[in-house]
Amino acid sequence: MVLLEIKSISYRVKEKEIFSGLSLSVEPGEVHAILGKNGTGKSTLAYLVMGCEGYIPTTGEILFDGKAINHLLLHERAKLGITMAWQEPVRFEGISVREYLTLKNKEIDPSKYLEMAGLYPGLYLNRMMDNTLSGGERKRIELASVVALDPRLVILDEPDSGIDMLSIRDILNVITVFKENGASVILITHREEIAIIADKASEICNGKIICSGAPVKVTQYYKTRKCEVCAGEECTFV
């Protein structure tokens, strides 16, 4: 059984072909790490799955639960249980952390989720979601908020960026919570210690998945590969 199936999608912005026939599938409850150099299209892939405006594959299909979703709008996909935490989460004026965490579901206990993301609720619940939060604090709140949504599929775009080295276990903790809840996770990351806790990993290069399999194997491949500026030669390897 497959929860998310990306079938040979292509996508281009202006003159740049970002994906040319990329395929990927994620099973229910699977944590799938995505690796790739800067600018290979990891965030773009996240937007395509989430359905951000303007992100519709030129060819190919995205299936969720066996149904094509590539023409559904973002909020319609969210209704199906898809959500994401942005690489650089946006700030909000006049919305407190408490309100933010309970936007959708007023019944939940926001403290529980802040704690999961390593934040002390007493210090944060009444803070504003504006630029008085540090980058790392904002990222943690975003993680807490997506856990609170109890999604079926969550895309975490570099959840570890901006998080101090000693707190990586908070991120691992959040990923474990998703797993326990039976959610599938697409985990975009540059860090090996995060990637290896995934069930599976894939590397994007030159518009395609060039290597897929056990995280240990894929991270190893990613590190030892000679290709620095991929011109497609090395990366035809699958």
Binding site: H75, V90, F92, G94, L103
Partner: protein, 311 residues
Amino acid sequence: MSELDELLKSFGEAGGDQSILANTAFAHLAASGHKILSRRAVKGIELDTVESDKGISATVRLLKGTRLLNPVHLCFGVLHRSGIQEINMRVNFEKDSQASFIAHCIFPKAEKVKHIMDAVIHIGENATMRYSEIHYHGIYGGIEVYPKARIIIGKNGRYFTDFLLINGLVGKLMIDYGVEVGENGVAELIARVFGHATDNILIKDKVALNGVNSKGLIKTRVAIENNAQAQVIGVTEGNARGARGHVDCMEIVKDNAIAKAIPLVKVSNSLAKVTHEAAIGSVDKKQLDTLMAHGLAPEEAVDVIVRGILK
């Protein structure tokens, strides 16, 4: 029902705390149209009022060194469908005094109502005034509001104002505030307005930083929808050494509404610094996407963002 009861009823319906006027620990002044309905002074504050054929005049004096713990409530309104109310206020905060004022302006049935506020406020040395003005307009949009104030801030004086009009139709709103800030003084002017239908909004704030090391902030948050129009003019002058001013204007526009922002910055002393930022546009797309990814419908998401900005 007496006129005061009726004013209080509208006040309560708009979310106000009706018991405030009965509380002897709070100074207040309540006027409906041209009539003064109720007033109370507390220790340290002198309140003189006169009724005229168009409205009322009030002179408020906060005596030297007085620090009021409870805010002074001003309750002004026109309860009829048509009418005019002109309020003349002369306010003097003497040296070292400190108090907050909350003005509730209530026009629940306005179809053809004009409310004019003309205030001259002196903030003495080391004195601090906080002034919030909250408007409750009805759903008919037949109201014109002209809040005009001239504020003179003395050495180390501080003046904070917050104008809020987010309930009901705005009608026509023409704010005109001018502040002169003395040495080490602080002026902070915030206005938050939500316009709909054919509302017409003009917010003109001027801060002249005349004193050494004086500081000024003009912050405006406006959301407009349907065919409403808004124009925000923020003028800051840096006229003395160490003066620091900032103008921060954000307008969110929906439907056919039209917004303009004119931040005007003038610096006449090379050791003064004034900055400005203005953002006009529809709701931020990334904010919208984020809230929708959190399960909100598009309209709900817009509402959360707009309410947040006006908060």
